[in-house]
Symmetry: C2
Subunit: 336 residues, 2 copies
Amino acid sequence: MTTPRTPTILDVAREAGVSRQTVTRALNDMADIAPATRERVVAAAQLLGYRPNRAAQSLVKGSGTTIGLLVESLRNPYYAELASELSRAAAARGWGLILCDVGYGTDRDARLSPLLRRVDALVGCLPAGATADVGVPFVSVDNPDETVGDATVWIDHEAGVRAALAHLVATGRRSIAMIDSGPEPSTRCLAYRAFLTEAGLPWSEQSEVRVEESHDGGIAAAAELLDRGVPLDAVLAFNDVLAIGAMKEMAKAGRRVPQDVAVVGMDGLDVGGLVTPELTTAATDRGAIAAAALDLVADLLAGDRRRREVATGLGESLGTRPRRTVVPHLEVRASG
Amino acid sequence: MTTPRTPTILDVAREAGVSRQTVTRALNDMADIAPATRERVVAAAQLLGYRPNRAAQSLVKGSGTTIGLLVESLRNPYYAELASELSRAAAARGWGLILCDVGYGTDRDARLSPLLRRVDALVGCLPAGATADVGVPFVSVDNPDETVGDATVWIDHEAGVRAALAHLVATGRRSIAMIDSGPEPSTRCLAYRAFLTEAGLPWSEQSEVRVEESHDGGIAAAAELLDRGVPLDAVLAFNDVLAIGAMKEMAKAGRRVPQDVAVVGMDGLDVGGLVTPELTTAATDRGAIAAAALDLVADLLAGDRRRREVATGLGESLGTRPRRTVVPHLEVRASG
DNA sequence: TTGAAAGCGGTACCAA
DNA sequence: TTGGTACCGCTTTCAA
């Protein structure tokens, strides 16, 4: 038994006894077609299970922009909220957004390559130095390593850290530890040190813990801090996920939050509102981050065009478009 | 100044002084091309900012499957976790997954239509009777209304409810309320009633609250239950998000959870592990749900083919493939 | 109202 | 090692 290939517009035309243009007219609700003819065509298409070939359609109409979103895992609420914003921002521009949940650890590249042949550009939120040279424009979001990608959305975490610490100081805290993430002191951590110094607050190596960026990491960090037995009336965490883990461990160890020790996170995730007490956090505007990322993608896509104009002697000059957008922090959102 | 149109392979060929096939060879790392020629071509492509047209490429090579994922909002952790699984399952099949975060309320269709011209099928997780007749195969996930979509992933919530209630009863609870969602009693709610009856446990209309499916809904529901002043030593919630809201409100009202009142959710979301105490929940296997959904998509896509065979007299018979996959619940995950 | 022909931008096969 | 040519499936323009 021969498997018939998937039917094309020609098959429908043959079946309906008309030409292919007539099929197009019928199936696309165009004018100038006799109702009877249309019905016959529609019936034929239905019978054959015809569905227009998307690639052919795109080829002739222009394919529209599709971008890929790279995240470690959508189970991390930070990425989930960002993806939500990006999806809407993309939809607003009429762009498609292909999701690539690369997952922690392994075969990043394996998951990546099938994606690359489908997108015009990539927006990525990957911590490590992964994903260097893909073939398409690449906008990295909140990546401390600015050498990654063709453009960067940079979040002003220094301001966020200062706001968070100012809040703690204003509420009378003096022994403030920091839960940092990553092998090296982050920008946030450096800002933390600078603030403490300027404010004349105590700091020592014992004030900092460095853990993996996860809920469990937050738990481990809090346990470690308590273990050290140093004075501690507040903790600033690298982000909300860590902060929530820390809060949980503090409570488990019998410390009252925030009476005994205040915990402040960064990001302003929804989950911060689910826990008790609600998490105090230096929030970022993920809508703005998403918008900035898509603007950069648009710039990059347009930049190719501009570069071409110059190359062909038609353009004026390249014009130095910023390849780095700085997104500010919002106010500190204190818990009830 | 004329804006040059985006360069095609022909432009590169002209620039490099070769034929277009040679360009293809050079750019696709194919054999049988002189290194010098390749370099020249690559340079020309680089100069022109050439990038192959995806649509054209797809047209000639076969476009590969791309599916769309419809969710209310990725800010709802349930959808986020499901999207994560679906993304990976799709990647494993070499499929692309376009995300459509339709958002609550408004312009669903507006967000939907640009998506439809990009996908071969749709997987949707929409509660209301939205999105009836899209032009592509549609698999609805966990939708109580089975008339929606061409196939359904059905979750055996009845078993989940029974397991959850059995757990409560085993720990000595007798006055068990239910927080339900939606205007009508859900399947879960009916299962709840049946279980109570069979177990000889008390039930009255006062035992149920019906609220909007959100964290705030959970808060409101708990407040309402407490207001009623009926006996209450346990609450079963329609899902984890509601349960977490309820837990929070209970604690706020001075009820100890779980000593005074136990709260059980359904879903088994990660967030259940973030709150204190950790949420007890009747978990589902979202990996299985995702796999089932993609299997159904594959069936649907293949079904078109089969239908065609029959229509053209080549196929045997349609064969009644199930259009509804039932995914079981996992065990109840009790808190510490 | 319908049909014929010319592309859209690539890749593949065969001949040079 | 390279180029010529057909063709992928659809839409659009122009005639009939």
